[in-house]
Symmetry: C2
Subunit: 339 residues, 2 copies
């Protein structure tokens, strides 16, 4: 039972561990990993597989585990895995990792810095990484390959990104609403400044400027303050005839505010929401949604990360993910410009 | 920049690491963890939190990471995370882990034994663990707390289980079909013998025996061989008037076989399938499904595991998860015994 050695918790893998697990001598392990000596092909393959699985050797830190983290809101603990976008991205990333033979470790938000120093992973997918992300600094110091979901400020060796085309997504929603007769389109965005928000607001302001529409950005909230704020927006001077909400709860919030203000959707007010929640197909009226295709983003990020882990000399090119607009009753006008 | 020490891959955490991260002396760390000396309450709390996050100390092996593995089919690599049941269980487990401040590592199926020897986790959820599971042996040798999703043959200290009530689920489906007039109900189950299959087949045979119905168990396949086999079943002597399929694709397979054989669903043949796939609400006709409530099982398993990790002296009791039967057209007869 010599092989039943107890290894509690995190432990440093030694050449002796690899030798024991592969049932060869430490000299053979050394020969295989250094390309020296004479070792049969089956033994060579077994030693390499074992070293990889154990995370032993210069190129295999963390073995066959990949990390995934949403670092948008830094150290604060928020329940991102309950948000349909992140839930679907994590699920797709898990499937993609398993297909390549890797475990996927989904990190909670706001872990202590120390977690990142010792995270046993061969590489990490960082979703919505903010500028000057301290997690990026820590992982770069360890030399781990990184894939960003959402374009980072700077890209180094063994790093790449996947990204949704937020510019095209925002333009598409605005053009759809304008095509249905909207003349004053408000955007619910912020107050946080994560990558997705910044990219979408920039695209919104650009579109407003190019079409001569006065921009109106309303900050998002979920603490009860959004009710009075939306009511004031929908009944005030220069009130919008359409609202595009960047976050999952926005569609329901705007429907409720419209009902309180006696506005009919879509005739008085059109609504589009960025969401992956199929429940928007069953609201009254059903709400048009734009999907950021999280399942494609999650899978593409993991595929790129596995490439970076397994081929340190080749960095895969960035991937742009297409969005999908699902037009429902909330933004279909029967009796205006376009019927 | 002394704190920016590079820690590639898996590394062993020392008391010096804890001291550095908590910004105290190693003597203070030792005092806090041994309950000796005089240390202020804020410092004590900080040192404990840092030690926990780093996975340092006797009770914190693996730090704040939990493992989840589906070991039903041992060493074979299968794409379980694409199956709606497992996808939803993993997603719920991830959310529950994050809420408690833990990372969740979803393991691929069929990893090498070595992975389990060095897995940096404070505890593991094992889904559908087979009898004599080698993974259980390895994890027990490391003294890790375990939670089984699906009752294990044997339970040791710091182990518990959550389980769907397969007996009640199977009986409920059979009674529903009998209530709609079915007299010969076939079961699609096996040929593999994982826990879920064994428990459901046992309940089916018990129900058949108590009601005097002749049992008919048809093995599941997805390799093309199921087509001819189902056609033979549905057109042969003593053909069933209802089929209950234990696996996700069964409903579609039976609908297709019925169409090939010129049988009308539900009038000639009723169908119920165990599935978490909402697409069964949109087939022709929509197929009745029984849900095993994976989101409840995943969350309950992680909650129990966190309890075991944080309170080594208290083992939480087993949890039984209720199933949900969604009756759709495929098992509703208009003009038979019950209308």
């Amino acid at each position: 039972m010599a092989r039943e050695r107890i290894l509690p918790g995190v432990s440093k893998v030694t050449i002796a561990d690899v030798a024991r697990a592969a049932e060869v001598s430490t000299a053979t392990v050394s020969n295989v990993l250094n390309g020296t000596g004479r070792v049969s092909e089956p033994t060579r393959a077994r030693v390499k597989a074992v070293a990889g699985a154990l995370g032993y050797g210069p190129a295999s830190g963390g073995g066959r585990t990949l990390g995934l983290a949403v670092t948008a809101h830094g150290e604060s603990a928020w329940d991102f895995a309950s948000v349909p976008y992140f839930a679907q991205a994590i699920s797709a990333a898990t499937i993609a990792a398993h297909r390549r033979g890797y475990a996927l470790m989904a990190m909670p938000s706001g872990p202590a810095e120390h977690m990142w120093r010792t995270l046993p992973a061969a590489g990490v997918v960082l979703v919505d990484s903010p500028p000057s992300d301290p997690v990026v600094r820590l992982l770069r110091a360890r030399g781990l390959p990184l894939v960003f979901d959402g374009r980072p400020g700077e890209l180094r060796a063994r790093e790449t990104w996947v990204d949704t085309d937020h510019e095209a997504m925002t333009r598409r929603v605005l053009e759809h609403l304008a095509g249905q007769g909207a003349e004053r389109i408000a955007l619910i965005a912020g107050p946080t400044q994560e990558y997705y928000t910044r990219a979408s607001v920039t695209a919104y302001r650009r579109w407003c400027s190019s079409t001569g529409v006065r921009p109106c950005v309303v900050p998002f909230a979920e603490d009860g303050s959004e009710g009075p704020r939306l009511d004031a927006l929908l009944t005030g001077d220069g009130r919008p005839d359409a609202v595009f909400g960047l976050y999952d709860p926005c569609g329901r919030q705007v429907l409720e505010a419209a009902a309180r203000c006696g506005l009919s959707v879509p005739d008085d007010l059109m609504v589009v929401c960025s969401s992956e929640d199929p429940a928007y197909g069953r609201t009254t009226p059903p709400v048009s949604t734009v999907s950021l295709a999280p399942e494609q983003a999650g899978a593409a990020a993991v595929d790129a990360l596995v490439s970076l882990v397994e081929n340190p000399r080749h960095t895969p090119p960035p991937v742009v993910i297409e969005t999908r607009l699902e037009v429902r009753s909330s933004s279909k006008r029967r009796s205006r410009r376009h019927t």
